[in-house]
Symmetry: C2
Subunit: 148 residues, 2 copies
Amino acid sequence: MSSQFTGAMVQRFVDLCRDRGTPATPQRIEIYRALAGSEAHPTPEMLYDQVRLSMPSMSLATVYKTLDTLVALGVASEIATTGDAKRYDANMEQHHHLVCTQCHSISDFRAPAFERIPLIAPEDFTPEFVSIRVHGLCKKCKASPPHS
Amino acid sequence: MSSQFTGAMVQRFVDLCRDRGTPATPQRIEIYRALAGSEAHPTPEMLYDQVRLSMPSMSLATVYKTLDTLVALGVASEIATTGDAKRYDANMEQHHHLVCTQCHSISDFRAPAFERIPLIAPEDFTPEFVSIRVHGLCKKCKASPPHS
DNA sequence: TTTCGGTTGATAAAAATTATCGCGTTAGAT
DNA sequence: ATCTAACGCGATAATTTTTATCAACCGAAA
């Protein structure tokens, strides 16, 4: 994620906060910037460590509360994982995920073949959107054998 | 999940344990039976409560350890969720999930249109399998308005 | 300036998961 | 049959992750 693109995302975030009447505090801006600038789909802890570099007074509780706020604003989403900690994504465009079965890393993925997945469901379920996860071996884990 | 079908699954589980040299202890059998007999994709806590009905001495730690064993044996899988607790599934057939955006319930789902999703990925990622999640409103939540 | 509502940071508490360890049971060797 | 070693179980402690609480702070409005 290039930093200029991140900057544009931050700007849009600040604008959205103004529109919604949600204060764009320095803490929220820094947390959003860290999330938007990461491709690692970071955990709250990871964001905490990142933001503290430029804002040492940051509290971990603020990170959790702000992430809830970002999700409520619709500028971030929580990713479903099998891991121990929550992970977030600021990429709100239609996209899917590659999940490494070895190291559990998650990366974004777009493919034309996945763009038009039919939105089907049983009759008693009202579908809204589909998410696809491709599980397999990431580049790193393919190269290096399991550490066991 | 009909109980006779659950019984067949338990039988296969016991056979598999014998083949693998993994002791099919009463605890493991009861935990597997509870998982195989549930359609709720239960959490460890839910399985603990269920199994204690017939085996009051069950320990929660045993549930956690056994779930790891079941996954290692390939007779159960952990489901990726955005929730607070882990959730498991004993249905090992190719299937997908309906996730309620309101109550976060998860139900199994099979559709011909999803049977042949192409196993595609970027060049540096080795895909193994795909999982699809259809997000939307379940029957109950469609009927009852949000509690807020 | 004062007030008020919302936010932050510190901390406690809760919830979920994992680690530890003694005990009992079982399998295999003798 | 007895002994022994290995393994699983249950109890519990410890760790990790997340949420709740609350006083202090900040900015906007009066």
